[in-house]
Symmetry: C2
Subunit: 234 residues, 2 copies
Amino acid sequence: MTGTLYGLGIGPGDPELITLKALRLLQAAPVLAYPALEDGESLARAIIAPHLTAPKIELAIRIPMTVAREPAQAAYDKAAEEIGAHLSAGQDVAVLCEGDPFFYGSFMYLFGRIAENFPVEVVPGVSSLTACATALQSPLSARNDILTVLPAPLSSDILRARLAETDSAAIMKVGRHFERVRDLIMEMGLGDNARYIERATMANEKILPLSEVPADAAPYFSMILIHKRGQAWK
Amino acid sequence: MTGTLYGLGIGPGDPELITLKALRLLQAAPVLAYPALEDGESLARAIIAPHLTAPKIELAIRIPMTVAREPAQAAYDKAAEEIGAHLSAGQDVAVLCEGDPFFYGSFMYLFGRIAENFPVEVVPGVSSLTACATALQSPLSARNDILTVLPAPLSSDILRARLAETDSAAIMKVGRHFERVRDLIMEMGLGDNARYIERATMANEKILPLSEVPADAAPYFSMILIHKRGQAWK
């Protein structure tokens, strides 16, 4: 009997935004794996720390943050091998995924490597997308609105073209692209329709008008939501 | 002291996909409100039924399913008034929202009517978007992919134009538009990239190849996910 790989969406940051299902599987699994920075910290593990009731085998997956793809691919290969060894030995492994495992998550790289050889169950989680919208008290989309999710690293031309055509948009991974994206939103006349938030639902959540975000200080976990129709839901 | 309105995302259907936070607020609220069909059934209430530990005051919000907007608006006005009476009396009211309250949810109509006069807290939930992706074992989007959410009632021209430009797409509310949308996907050569699912995470969840979905039988809670890049996550 081989073990099962569980890809658990643990939600956007507030430990209380984990689902009952993810919590149950997390607490039952003898082996826990999670992404971690190269120097040690793991946001995912910090999020679920209040829920850890018993010691487990823990695997920190440390992915080099390089522009080149190969070092990261090698790290995923190694992690998949380590996880596979536990699964082969009959142990279930729970992989912690911030937000939702399949919404811009790194879990898919493990999934792609493991799903052909072992049973995998993926548990959806509250994504940063809806967490940001609720924290901003700002509905994402209504009725037949088109909602477009745009990673900020895309070129300004692509961002402009997609923003021109959509009813609402979420611009993710803003970070060091903030200044360029803010200027582009202003040029398009969408400043009044845009709202900025960082680290939604976490203890250090911050909501700011676009004009007050320090140009160089937007973190990776920041998002801009845009609703062309304003308060269309009234 | 007035009460607080809680808009609770209760997840896509599996009662275990509610968050700890929504569960806590649900169980603490003396008054429960939820959308219901005109003839009585409430899917939202059925989802949380296993979690009801004590009797509560219950308000079924019955919205007429007409093409004209006015009857629905009048029903939301009436519901907001009833809820407001409880809030004025100092009672918290929990409104159940399938999926996430601000992701194509009807909660925003209550929110728009109540948030100016009473404190409102919105709790994000697992949306059908990510629930469908995980049930299909099919990542929604990776890296700098553009993800576009398209309601199926949009015109074929708009659907075609947006599908042509995006990396991945979720077509929601497929229902009676299934045949037209399927043909359009096939014409665009995206048939092999598309996956169909109905009632994700519910007891009667169904996953079918596009070619095997009965033309007239797709329910409202059905979705088609399209990934142009195939298994880009490998």
